[in-house]
Symmetry: C2
Subunit: 700 residues, 2 copies
């Protein structure tokens, strides 16, 4: 099966027109009876085939003995039989040419080694035939657009408005809960896809499907632990290129949470910092509560994305206005002042109004209700804001008041189609739903409106950035077999395009003196041995040698001293390099994440990394623009701008080096274990940068 | 008037039994008619006296021509007349012996210099007579316990359950809004006090009243900008000693917010970092959204405080369990594992359950609903947890299910009276209110339950700490007149108990050599002149002088060199000190905040302060325990534990110095402008610490 077929089968499955239920029961409360009842009752327009060897009819529908007996194609099979029977059923499904099967049964990889083997046999059936398998140990999915609740959990059949949100959940229970939550929030889902044990279909496949689904405009991911990191990154990259916002909850960001997640899921745990880095790199918006997850998803689906960072705030309460300004600014939005002329105009309407930004219409709203719309229009006409939040206090507390306000908001939205709107007020859930049906996100908490605007602006910024993801596009530079001495490590990196300090290897005292003359005095001397890692511990490092004779005697002394201290080590000579002074010490590393593969680390040297753990990561490979974002992310960034009169550093050279390391790491992901370039010295702007020391380790 | 009388009058006013309305109108929609109608309709049991010179009767009540005509005492006057008439009315009220007056009218300090003068005259009437004034430009207050809505804003008459929460709001509009929000949240307020322009009664007075009010158990503060910092700190200290939790929203934490706040309020803006420090020091819990403000207040009022940091999580969804574990751990709670034996016992009930912590009862709950209670009781019986959160998914989605669950929760609460409980589930607002009426905080969002538990545990930790606040208890050490040379500054600090480097001042080359001999070579030499601040700029610093002859020639050279470069400076000689090597460089400062007075700053030297702004503050004075908390708060804390093989630093000596500086700053708050001790070197444990340089500046 090609990946194209396998993708097509996934689509056929999620958009099934013909659905068979193996183990269909006449009792609609049983696990095999529920899907039959739920699918029929929700108004599914396709064909439903109950499969039951003992009955001719199930819940009023004609039943078939086996899947082979079903006339015509079957897109989706819901397999509701006990675990022990699943393998046989899957074989029958594959023989029939079914596009995909949902397996509810548990007792597989989540419980034992034996279960894992049984699961692997299911996976193999799928891989051989191209038939996709969701599960085992899952709750299936719901395609609300097609009224297809392919699950046994009644929550998946929750009636809800037609929506644009696709949710992928690694937790079945959460998938069910979320349908109920969406209904209560008045937000429509289009798809809820749960993945269970991910014997075949994983979160990456589901994400991939949603990227291609034209009706899905916003994607929500609920992740416990990704199994196939590279596929996940590829799918994120496709979402990013398709400019579909992805909002994610990823569990296990604390030690306690990671421990709980590990005991809860059988997925391999990648480091949370790596997930975080991947989310930043691929433009995913990570949140930490269910409330924020849905609230953000709903706002983006309903109101779209603010097209820039400038936000205007109009309020009936000065205090709440300030609160929103604080929240917006803390989230990186630009709360810039209204134009002076506009301020003056509104002062003419309400002399004591606050007219900076927020524009506070004051309690005067009670006597002159029309000033709110006047304020909104003034701001929209004369400002250059991308988004506008209106806080109307308790003014929309009755259904009538909300309806009146909605008329105004609808007119504004029509008159200013490029702006992004949100209303905040103590309104009822019903009024909230009315606003959202009209395309205006509505919030009870004022700072949730600014929070949603910030999320939209984040995606707009991300989508405006150049983006490329091609893990195959690595470096041409080779990677020989290990072990690597410092000299070989530096040479290897140099060939990969990383600037390294000029060095010479010398094998005699005379040789060393000559090399030092070539490099320019003073020099540093270090022992070269594949067997010695901590060179200074054995007297294998000498600094600041400033004459030919000093170099010669240092050579003699080092060779005999090290030989005495490390008698078993093979000594290949010494490495000579110029003494470098000045510049900012940084660290560049490559870490091989068990889930995602090669990640490049960057940090400042010294206390920044040792005390503050001030480092950041990116998935390899990436370009210099991404490297610059990485550099800008560390807390000690100002060190590279020059502090205490120091000159600004050559961050372009640093970015080039980071990108070169990332390409090299990507190219050699199969053999590389880690790279540690420490220090990587960044010289003043225009003078470049260079690795002074490097360690390369290969996988066993 | 003594402050005791003034406090008694405030209490009489807020708990008024007799209320007069000046400017009372027969029309209940007008500003003078509304309070009459609202107070009567809400069921106020005291006496109401409408005052209107033109009518004998107002809204069915006997009216009086003037306040003087009212028979008997008047506790509270609501003054609903235009601004121009207020002063005369206040005089009449003062003559009558009224305890307190609310002034609604605006047009005072918030609009002009003239208005500020008029307001000052009102304040003076109050100060002379002891009569308290709330406002001007305010919305009054509501005493819900006494059914007394002393406001013209209908929101203040919102019916709500009797509550234990006292809210002080500097925003009138927010005061009104909050009453509506509380009702919708099903939470009862006891008091809502708004302060307007704070001509007399400020946020500190209101807080002070609530501390003494036995029915108020939780205090919420909504602050735009405190006018009387010292009074506010005193009131916070009283709340802290009374162990009443104070939750605060303080506006203006970002530049944009601070700018908006400044244009919105006439209060002086202290630095937000100082507010933040004061909140930490006085055990206030600061939040940044209205939703969190009420949610936290409600949970504390309903469920009390968790008596420690250990939290247990029981869940029907593994995923949501992990989410709660993440949230709890991120907020500093201890999500420690269940005892092994307990884990085993629950595995016997549900073999595939997650039994670490969270305890995940799994989807098995559908078939065995009783396992949730079993899980809760097992955890409570066998664990040592202080709090427990139960997540019941959509299981409480119907009124019947919620009622059934409540029976279980009530039994648990009864059986484990020392534990703190919270339930999270997709329940209706009505069900939520039912739970909370039974003393069990109920949340729709699971992480809001852990958030509330963390807030409670925070207060418990705070209340368990020793706490003292006595701003009058300063240092006995004197502060002479300025300007201060480095030598005098160090001497002054030494007298105040701050360890300083041993130094000598020399006025001749011979003198210098002798002093260097006393101190021990090598030494540092610095010019002493009241006219020179940047000594190294004029050649006034020489390091590492290692012999008597070097010292002598350095003296001669420095005196003539500095005289040439700074011909107008008076040179008093040179300061000699030993070269100090080793230790960790820190900075201790004193900053005079315009609102709060002396604040002590602490940070690490070098990049920590210059690049990372890694500093923290405390209000002076404080003890060494508080100083230790301050030290523990900085991000670079590990530097003091010793990094790269360095020994641990003498943080006890550092804490002593910080406390000594704080006492000195408090004692001289009236004359001191700033102190900058940089560097303050902390030596290895047991070796002490010392100031190497210091600058003291006085106010003009």
């Amino acid at each position: 099966m090609s990946s194209i077929d396998s993708r097509a089968n996934l689509k056929r499955m999620f958009e099934a027109k013909s659905v068979a239920i193996i183990g269909a029961s006449g009792d609609p409360t049983r696990i095999g009876g529920r899907p039959v009842a739920m699918i029929r009752d929700m108004g599914f327009e396709g064909t439903l085939y109950p499969i039951n060897p003992n009955r001719d009819e199930v819940q009023g529908l004609k039943a078939y003995k086996t899947i082979a007996d079903v006339p015509g194609d079957v897109d989706l099979v819901i397999c509701a039989v006990p675990g022990g029977l699943v393998e046989d059923m899957l074989r029958q499904c594959a023989a029939k040419g079914v596009a995909g099967v949902i397996v509810f049964a548990g007792g597989f990889a989540e419980v034992s080694e034996e279960g894992a083997e049984a699961q692997a046999r299911l996976t193999a059936i799928g891989r051989e035939s191209g038939m996709r398998i969701v599960g085992p140990n899952c709750m299936g999915f719901a395609n609300f657009a097609n009224n297809l609740p392919a699950s046994f959990h009644p929550a998946f059949a929750t009636p809800m408005p037609k929506g644009k949100i696709g949710l992928v959940s690694q937790s079945g229970a959460f998938g069910g809960l979320s349908s109920i939550m969406a209904t209560q929030r008045g937000v429509g889902f289009r798809h809820v896809l749960t993945t269970g044990n991910e014997g075949d279909v994983g979160v990456a496949d589901c994400l991939d499907y949603l990227v291609d689904d034209p009706g899905t405009e916003v994607i929500l991911l609920y992740i416990e632990g990704v199994r196939d990191g590279p596929a996940f990154l590829d799918a994120l990259a496709r979402a990013r290129k398709a400019k579909k916002p992805v909002v994610a909850v990823k569990l296990g960001r604390t030690d306690a949470g990671a421990k709980a997640a590990a005991s809860h899921t059988s997925a391999l745990a990648g480091a949370d910092a790596i997930y975080d880095a991947a989310f930043r790199q691929f433009g995913v918006h990570r949140v930490h509560s269910i409330e924020e997850f849905f609230d953000t998803g709903a706002a983006l689906a309903v109101g779209g994305l603010a097209q820039g960072d400038e936000i205007a705030l109009v309020t009936v309460s000065g205090g709440v206005g300030v609160l929103m300004a604080d929240d917006a600014a803390a989230r990186g939005l630009d709360v810039s002042e209204l134009p002076r002329g506009t301020q003056k105009k509104f002062k003419e309407i309400v002399p004591f109004a606050g007219v900076n930004n927020p524009l506070d219409v004051t309690g005067q709203i009670i006597n002159q209700p029309e000033i709110f719309e006047q304020a909104m229009r003034l701001v929209l006409d004369e400002g250059t804001y991308d988004s506008i939040v209106g806080f109307q206090g308790a003014g929309l507390n009755t259904a009538e008041a909300a309806a009146t306000a909605l008329t105004m908001w609808e007119a504004l939205k029509k008159d200013y189609p490029d702006k992004c709107f949100a209303v905040a007020s103590l309104m009822s859930v019903e009024s909230q739903q009315m606003f959202e049906a009209a395309g205006i996100p509505a919030f009870r908490e004022a700072t949730h409106a600014t929070r949603a605007m910030a999320a939209g602006a984040y995606f707009t910024r991300q989508f405006a950035q150049g983006f490329d993801w091609n893990p195959a596009q690595g470096s041409d530079a080779g990677l020989e077999d290990g072990p690597f001495t410092e000299a070989r490590a530096l040479k290897t990196l140099a060939a990969a395009g990383v600037p390294v300090m000029e060095t010479r290897v010398a094998t005699s005292a005379k040789d060393a003196a000559r090399a030092a003359g070539d490099l320019g005095l003073p020099v540093v001397m270090k022992i070269v041995s594949p067997d010695i890692i901590h060179k200074s511990d054995v007297g294998g490092v000498k600094l600041n040698l400033s004459s030919a004779s000093e170099v010669e005697s240092a050579f003699t002394e080092m060779m005999s001293g090290v030989a005495a201290r490390a008698p078993d080590a093979k000594l290949e000579g010494v490495l000579l390099a110029p003494m470098i002074s000045g510049g900012v010490e940084t660290i560049i590393g490559v870490h091989m994440d068990p889930v995602f593969g090669p990640a490049v680390m960057f940090g400042l040297g010294g206390v920044f990394v040792e005390v503050l753990k001030d480092v950041t990561f990116r998935m390899a490979p990436f370009d210099t623009a991404e490297a610059h974002r990485m550099i800008d992310e560390i807390r000690g960034r100002a060190m590279l701008d020059g502090v205490r009169g120091a000159p600004a550093s050559d961050t372009d050279a640093l970015a080039e080096a980071l990108a070169a390391v990332s390409r090299f790491a990507a190219a050699h992901r199969d053999r590389l274990l880690s790279i540690d370039i420490n220090p990587f010295v960044v010289l003043p702007k225009g003078e470049g940068a260079m690795a002074l020391d490097a360690v390369i380790e290969l996988q066993d």
